[in-house]
Symmetry: C2
Subunit: 344 residues, 2 copies
């Protein structure tokens, strides 16, 4: 029996995988000392440490963090669930998270859901199986099951890009209803009267922007025409299709609030293609503050939100919480800003 065990070991070693014990033998110390060199180097004598580091280098040892987690119950991993990897706005959030988390020694793992709550639940479940120390989600809408799993997991959870009174744990985001409302007021102040909203049916954040938008118009002008899109893989195509639908169903529309800058850019491009002038024939405003909003002609009026700041704050909450410290607040509103350009 022992014998068999030994043989398996020998085979493994021969197959190329270097274990902590191999490093220990090379350095003439115990595995324990190697472990200490890796985690608490100051607790090891200078000379020993140097020998161990030399052995690590020589053998190209890569510690198995999976085993490390199992023994220590800390994975040093933060999991991030994103709707899509292609949206530049989320890229800022990722950058903010990464820079703050890196310095604290955490690794960021990403999954994407293609804007499907079912896919999100699957991603969350898969992630929980990897035992991350914390999880960051996009939005505040999740399957009941996903929320339950998250709560039971006991790890810190940060929901982002929206706000809610009933967070799973912590929230860093902006007031989407408020942003929609502000954009509605903005249009009305400027005399637009025949309005439309173009967004996605599947995203709560988009629907919240509509809610605020409609509320701002209520009692002042007619209800906005609402055009909803499902597929978000080709954002500009969808934006073009949305403005097409608006123009067809309500030809006298004088302004459209589009729920994301990428869609809005697609809408502006489509208008140019068909000779519809922006903002003279139709005004267009977006949401997000993507790079393209500054570059496109006409410049895109938009409700700007700092994705970077969301990422940084989320990281900060997580690091604080994992350090066992108390939080000043569980819900952080990063705000938004209506940036006026030529499109509306």
């Amino acid at each position: 029996m022992r014998q068999t065990g030994m043989k398996v070991r020998a085979n493994r070693a021969a197959s190329g995988r270097v274990r902590m014990l191999d490093v220990a033998r090379e350095a003439g110390v115990s595995a324990q000392t190697v472990s200490r060199v890796l985690r608490l180097p100051e607790k090891v004598a200078e000379a020993t440490r140097r020998r161990v580091l030399g052995a690590i280098e020589k053998l190209n040892y890569v510690p198995d963090l999976t085993a490390s987690y199992l023994a220590s119950n800390r994975s040093r991993v933060v999991a991030l669930v994103l709707p899509s990897v292609s949206m530049s706005i989320f890229a800022d959030t990722v950058a903010g998270l990464t820079s703050s988390l890196d310095s604290a020694g955490y690794q960021l793992l990403l999954a994407h859901t293609d804007y499907s709550l079912d896919d999100e639940e699957a991603a969350i479940r898969a992630f929980l199986g990897r035992r991350p120390d914390a999880m960051v989600l996009t939005g505040v809408e999740h399957s009941a099951r996903a929320e339950e799993l998250l709560r039971l997991s006991g790890i810190p959870v940060v929901q982002t890009w929206a706000l809610t009174d009933n967070p799973i744990d912590m929230v860093v985001g902006c007031d989407n209803v408020g942003a929609g409302f502000a954009m509605g007021e903005y249009f009305i102040e400027r005399g637009y009267r025949r309005l439309a909203f173009a967004g996605t049916n599947t995203e709560l954040r988009s629907r919240q922007r509509l809610e605020g938008f409609a509320r701002a118009l209520a009692g002042k002008v007619a209800e906005p025409l609402v055009v909803g899109r499902e597929d978000l893989t080709r954002q500009m195509d969808e934006g073009a299709a949305a403005v097409d639908e608006v123009l067809r169903r309500q030809p006298d529309t004088d302004a459209v609030f589009v729920a994301s800058d990428a869609l809005a850019a697609g809408a502006i491009f489509e208008c140019r293609r068909r000779g519809v002038r922006v903002p003279d024939d139709i005004a267009i405003a977006g949401f997000g503050g993507y790079e393209i909003a500054r570059h496109i002609t006409p410049g895109l009026t938009t409700a700007e939100v700092s994705g970077r700041r969301i990422g940084e704050l989320a990281a900060q909450l997580i690091v604080t919480r994992l350090a066992g410290k108390a939080l000043e607040q569980d819900v952080v509103d990063v705000g938004f800003r209506i940036v006026q350009r030529d499109s509306a």
Copy 2:
């Protein structure tokens, strides 16, 4: 001693973490049977299986895949290293990878490097610590150390978006030199004589496109002016800055090949802003086939590459290899296509 062990166990269970053994007890079976229900359900009697699944559901059990890996030596994880999460062209690759990998039961983990080889090495090292079953890299340029670690790890590695004669393991990509050459010929055929190239200094793929481009011009027209950018976080800003530099240093330039569509879009926007007509005053062509190439005015002439296909093929190579089957070829060229639009 035993006593202590038991106490720890009890505490853990009380603290909320559900283990396989808890499920087993709830269902009145052994842990092994629970494990089988999870991995080989057809090997378990219908009634037993149902009881076990019921217990899993009831206790909200989430299997610890970390421990599973440790015991089975298979993590069911494929790691993907991307330069940036915001580039829509990589999004297609991710989508292609995900759809093929999901169905084979693999989970995709992502890291990003911000176009830094050092960051890439760090990401690879961190990933290897999580013991993925395979790894997908972007490009064929890596630190010597990173390549060595990858080779020693023994896992399947796919390099993407470029080709090389000396792959770490497998490659799925396109001929960047060839694409640059084709674009050079395209410009020359159309009578452009004063050319420029705008790309990134840090990306080998960009430099390869330049290499082919310059080769196509050699002996026919003057050498192209080369403008290099370093920072890639704000692609459109960089594209605008690049065209600005071209116009300043070589005012009579009649055509620019820009190494990526996002940069090229930024260049076109900048031209519009300053009243430079595209293509009349200056022609612009890009690389990639991003969504914006079809939408922007004028439409962007570009060397189109199917990012989706790269992802799908990479997944296919990995799945085949992990199934222990032999590969028909280790190097796959997905090709490119010059798509003519109005910008050049």
